[in-house]
């Protein structure tokens, strides 16, 4: 069975309509879930991230990071993506799902057929034979095109799969550039501060190089 075709592997029992509820634990629970093919999960690893954070993280992680974790939504986050992001999804594929934030939404006027075609194309181009994938529409909301991939080398109990959704009607996040600008400023400030602090150690070396090149 080729890449991009609909597969009927060990995860095929998950119907498209059932896929989203199953995947609806972003940020809440461990990625491990059982497929309905009878495989079992290791219960030892089924620890809620939020429980973990509430008990241990405040003591270990700086307050800012903890604030981010604590405020993670308990409901499923649905982000959007474009087909080009599919490659990145596959490269990091190891968990049950990946939600991908979008930067470049498909234009509103783009037809769903085009979205489906583009997604299929991206999956065929960027997938390796290790992944079996398919594209389908969610029956409940046909405007959503979903691509799923499964890592055939992972054991069935891990249910590795990946989802990319295309929802052209949702708006672009206006704060994205602001956040990125803040990150860049922070990184630049840290770099400058660090090298300024280390300048007394670097300067003798620079001086040595200059002296040698001068002579």
């Amino acid at each position: 069975m080729g890449v991009g075709e609909e597969t009927s592997g060990y995860w095929a029992g998950i119907e498209p309509s059932a896929a989203l509820p199953l995947l609806g634990s972003a940020g809440g629970h461990s990625e491990r879930r059982c497929d309905n093919a009878g495989a079992h999960c290791s219960s030892a690893a089924l620890v809620s991230t939020q429980q973990f954070c509430r008990r241990l993280v405040p003591a270990l992680v700086p307050p800012l990071v903890y604030g981010l974790i604590r405020n993670m939504p308990s409901q499923p986050c649905v982000y959007l993506s474009r087909p080009a992001a599919w490659k990145n999804t596959l490269s990091g594929l190891e968990s049950a799902k990946h939600y991908i934030a979008a930067k470049d939404w498909l234009p509103v006027q783009a037809s769903q057929d085009r979205a489906e075609r583009e997604l299929k194309k991206a999956m065929v181009v960027d997938s390796s034979p290790q992944y079996k994938s398919r594209v389908f529409r969610e029956p409940a909301s046909p405007s959503v095109v979903i691509g799923q991939a499964v890592d055939t080398k992972q054991p069935p109990a891990l249910c590795s799969s990946s989802i990319v959704e295309l929802k052209p009607e949702l708006p672009r996040q206006s704060t994205s550039r602001l956040i990125q600008g803040a990150y860049c400023l922070w990184a630049l400030a840290v770099f400058l501060w660090y090298f300024w602090q280390f300048f007394p150690a670097i300067s003798p070396l620079l001086k040595g190089i200059l002296q040698k090149s001068w002579h």
Partner: protein
């Protein structure tokens, strides 16, 4: 000739690696343990194998038949290698296929990594110049080979030698300082592999390669891997390997996983006292992840099994397992407060760090303005890109084991020591997070932030690459035989010329016992000696050596015949020794002037330093009586 020698060392190191992996493979098969991928299986096998070999070497050292014992260990490893070779070969070929991905850019990165490793290997083959290595990492092993496995209170730091120093002992016992350096380099190679395995769990192959290259070009890392002569890089490997085991899916939550992680944690515990802090962090991580007392206890038991040996040795030799830090409580009658305070200051134990320094320290951007140097230079990348992790905060559950190990270790090291370089064991974990942050920003579509971050990574590559080129050209030229070793030693090895003068003078003396001297880098000395610097010698207690009579008793007790100073005595013991010189109890024998570093070697300042060798008069009289 030099190239042939380098090739032989490379073959020997590779053979050692394969033999260690064979031994580890056997142990993992007995424990029915299988990692998620072949590459991870090989790395873990090598780690378990190395720690098992070190336990064997510890047993060999106890027998006092060290050279013979080391050759027996070599024979045993050859047998194991032959027995397990068939089992290892498919895993090796599979792992190599994974390492060489399809894209041209990825292959180019792999090529650059290979070149960097090659350069660092050649640096490691140059003669030893690391200050601490010349003081105790190599000197202690050399003295053990010459005089047996006994405590040496003349070098206080000799009690800091851990499990991985046995690899240096192994190399020296087989007759090669270069092999000993090669075994330290091997620790670097395995750390690189374990970093790549960890990072590839959370990021793409390209980002993994990029971060691996950044690791190799970080000054503190290439110094530790290549020329420092300290085996601390093995701690980074064992920490990453233990975290890798705790992140496995196939064996998740099993007792075998906890035991294996513990065995590897022992490689960190037994390396250095601060390794205990990392082991506590690993125990915290497993307790938090699996909420199982049994798993936590198994991890503790495993780490004790493989890492307790240096602590037992110290307990038997001194009465203090972490000598000399608990000596005031455990052996108050034998405390040398002068030496203890000097050691506490040197290791950062007595320094108090300001809370403002806490956050940069944890993110590897800490530095000590009092002694600024590249041995603390981890680069700003982890701190600068830390906010990018928020782009992938939804995947925190995948990272939490590594995050707990990193945070708990860093916090503990900050309060216990405050020396940034002691964070080296958890640096690969932080870089793996950085790789994940880079990819997450890309996946989230933050194109500007992602490109800026990549720009910073490239900038650090350039900085590190230039630094490596500047640092490496002389040792590489020496390793390749282009520069003569003597010239290199005169230029780079601290106190080499002083030691050579002392060697020359003492070689012409027909009779003689030990020489009391005050230089720090004693590795170059051929004659028996006693370190007289009260800051680094537990035997020299200024509180008890106040008069010439006290010194005369010490000279007689230790069989000291000569005293060498260059140029002055340490201030704390200067008065009685100068008095002995004035009285004629110490008779000048020879004097010479050499050029050597003044202050820190990194400053490059040189000065003319007189070296004076004196004969102890009472020793002449005693010899005359006999």
């Amino acid at each position: 000739m030099a190239l042939i020698q380098a090739g032989l060392i490379l073959v020997a190191v590779c053979a050692f690696l394969l033999a260690a992996a064979s031994l580890g493979n056997l142990i993992l098969r007995i424990l029915h343990l299988e990692m998620d991928t072949d590459a991870q299986q090989l790395v873990i096998c090598a780690g378990v194998g190395v720690i098992a070999i070190e336990m064997l070497l510890f047993g060999v050292a106890l027998t006092q038949q060290i050279r013979k014992g080391c050759f027996v260990v070599v024979g045993l490893l050859c047998v194991l290698l032959l027995a397990e070779f068939k089992s290892l070969t498919p895993r090796c070929s599979q792992s190599i296929k994974v390492v060489f991905p399809g894209s041209r850019a990825d292959r180019f990165l792999i090529l650059i990594i290979g070149i960097t490793l090659g350069i660092e290997f050649l640096i490691s083959l140059a003669p030893l110049t690391g200050s601490d290595a010349l003081h105790y990492h190599f000197t202690t092993q050399k003295l053990i080979l010459e005089y047996g496995f006994h405590p040496d209170f003349s070098i206080s730091n000799s009690f800091f030698c851990g499990q991985h120093h046995l690899l240096i002992l192994f190399g020296l016992a087989l007759g090669s300082e270069k092999l000993a350096m090669g075994l330290i380099f091997l620790g670097g190679i395995l750390t690189v592999f374990s970093l790549a395995c960890l990072a590839s769990r959370w990021s793409s192959s390209r980002t993994t390669s990029a971060i691996t290259l950044l690791f190799l070009l970080t000054p503190v890392v290439f110094w530790q891997i290549s020329s420092s002569g300290a085996p601390d890089i093995w701690m980074a490997f064992f920490t990453s390997a233990a975290v890798m085991v705790l992140c496995q899916n196939k064996i998740s939550g099993t007792w075998r996983q906890a035991l294996l992680a513990g065995l590897l944690a022992g490689g960190v515990v037994g390396a250095k006292y601060t390794g205990c802090l990392v082991a506590v962090a690993l125990a915290t991580a497993i307790a938090a992840e699996y909420r199982s007392m049994q798993s936590t206890l198994l991890l503790g038991a495993g780490s004790l099994l493989t890492g307790i040996w240096p602590y037992l040795r110290n307990l038997v030799w001194t009465g203090d397992p972490v000598f000399p830090f608990f000596s005031t409580m455990l052996i108050p009658e034998r405390v040398n407060f002068f030496a203890l305070n000097a050691i506490r200051a040197d290791t950062g134990a007595s320094n108090s760090s300001h809370w403002v320094e806490f956050v940069p320290f944890v993110f590897f951007a800490g530095m000590r303005q009092g002694s600024l140097g590249f041995w603390d230079f981890f680069g700003p990348i982890v701190f600068a890109l830390a906010p990018l992790w928020s782009a992938s905060v939804g995947h925190f559950h995948k990272w939490r084991v590594a995050a707990v190990v990193w945070c708990v270790s860093a916090v503990a090291v900050f309060y216990a020591s405050g020396l940034p370089r002691f964070l080296l064991p958890v640096f690969p974990l932080a870089l793996a997070f950085t790789a994940a942050g880079l990819d997450s920003s890309q996946q989230k579509g933050w194109r500007i932030a992602n490109r800026f971050a990549w720009g910073l990574v490239i900038l650090l590559w350039i900085f590190g690459g230039v630094g490596l080129a500047m640092y490496s050209w002389k040792p590489v030229a020496t390793a390749l035989g282009i520069v003569r070793e003597v010239n290199y030693l005169e230029e780079r090895r601290p106190e080499y010329q002083e030691a050579e003068v002392i060697n020359r003078v003492l070689a012409s003396q027909t009779k003689g016992g030990k020489t009391l001297l005050f230089i720090r880098h004693t590795y170059s000395l051929d004659a028996p000696f006693l370190n007289g610097d009260p800051a680094t010698s537990w035997m020299i207690n200024p509180d008890r050596l106040r008069t010439p009579q006290d010194w005369t008793i010490l000279f007689q007790k230790e069989g000291i015949t000569f005293v060498a100073r260059s140029p002055d005595y340490p201030e704390a013991i200067e008065a009685p020794l100068m008095e002995m010189e004035a009285k004629g109890d110490l008779i000048p024998l020879a004097q010479s002037v050499v050029r050597d570093f003044q202050g820190m070697r990194i400053d490059g300042k040189r000065a003319e330093i007189p070296v004076i060798v004196l004969r102890v008069k009472s020793a002449i009289e005693t010899q005359g009586d006999h």
